[in-house]
Amino acid sequence: MSPAPPRPGKDLRRHFPIFRHAREPFHFLDNAATGQICDEAAQALLHFETRARANVKRGVYRLADQATAAFDAARASMARYLGETEKNNVVFTSGATAALNIAAHGLARRLGPGDEILLTTLEHHSNIVPWQLTAERQGAVIKAIPVTDEGRLDLDHLDRLVTNETRIIATTHVSNVTGAVTDLGRLRRAADAVGAVLVVDGAQRAPHGPIDIAATGADLYAFSAHKMFAATGAGVLWGKTELLADFEPLLGGGEMIRQVTFEKTTFAPPPHRFEAGTPPIGAVLAMAAAADWLATLDWRAIAEHELGLTARLLDGLQTLPGLRIVGPSGLQGRFGVVSFDIDDIHAHDICQLTDQLEGVALRGGHHCCQPLMHRFATDATARASLAPYNDTDDIDALIRGLDQTIRMLT
């Protein structure tokens, strides 16, 4: 029998080297920007880079063969994390951004002049700009699903937004600003009604435990390793077999070809077609190690723990003068990402002072979501985002820091 998984909060924190080494109060609440690396990922990264390094997909000496086998096993791990068995639908990329660009480039051939791509006002720039580049090249049109005052997708007028010209619906799974979870079932049905492809940006969902990709209804799904407690520099584009098979590659180079002559080059089948050049092998192996470890945790307990912290955070914030929450005020259909602004205090001042006063790492800015900032008539918000290793001490330090900040600056 395997041992009971570590309890969320301080117990789990011991599995993350940065917290073991921190000498000063360190309340890390910037998990939506990047998570901290877990032991399993750090060890896999270090082991590969310092003990087992060889390039993959080509060599036959033992070290190269083992690296290739490990890389292959990593693909199977990531498929498992997504509840899938076909590992060749997992494309390794340098991150969610690269994954979304490969998707937008690959889907370009389905778009003609006047065809529509439906995005949402919640999107991160990484799920907007690639579509704009593609739309511009193909003469397609971009539309966006609006957002309610609570920072959720407003699906009331979805029928009007989805038309016979809609070829692609691209949406975030979880907002990196408001924490709102998208009703993917609704969007899947809307996509099916007009034969559109559903692309899901899972960057903020992947850190919250294994995903049942079939249940999401996604045709393509993207995320980054560094947000799911692995290393920087890797990510995944998962795609349905028929879709990937039809994609042109975004990058050309080694390892993605079948045959090269100066006259004509033919490409390898997916996933290799999209993995030009030496991949980020260390970061890929670290991501797989993280995924395997994450799969052993008790995600029901973690969800409960994080929602408890979110409630404590929302309660604390509501006691502070001049503070506005940008996002859902309740606990339904959300993750522990909470954005807010404070009258007459700039987000950067909030972040600098809470760090200075209480050692709280908070993010301030537009969070790569300028259209959403515009929707809420602000330039920047401050954001606290939770991970399984956060605990009440982090929330309480934040509230204390905010309280002092407001006193100092108003």
């Binding site: 997909k57 000496y61 033992r62 063969d65 290739t68």
Partner: protein, 148 residues
Amino acid sequence: MTQSLYNEAIIEAGKDKTRAGRLPNPDATATADNPLCGDRVTIDLRAENGAITDLAHTTRGCLLTKAAAALLASHARGRPLATARALQAAARAYLEGESNDPPFPELAVMAPVKTVKSRHDCVTIAFDALADAAASVRAAKEGAQGEE
């Protein structure tokens, strides 16, 4: 250093030219290749009454590829066309450790390849080519029957 991958039996099979070459007027020909290293096996096949009566392979590639093609070619003569797909599956299962039994006893010389994942394809492409060739004979026969 890796455990000895190239045993005597493999080296010998790799040098065996008995069924190397082309067949005149084959009933079917199929080629399989390994895009990662450019290795390639072409199999010519003659069949009668649902059984393989003769076959030959032309193999460009490493010793493992040649040995596997030679062993398969000797084994397959006289076998039912229908077994080619099963042989292909059995070869993969054997290499990947899903099964302890080689597809036929002579292929047991490939046991050391199991631990070297990057060489599995060297062994299996001959099986791929045979399965494709067999399938196309059967498809042609069925087509012919359909026309009757």
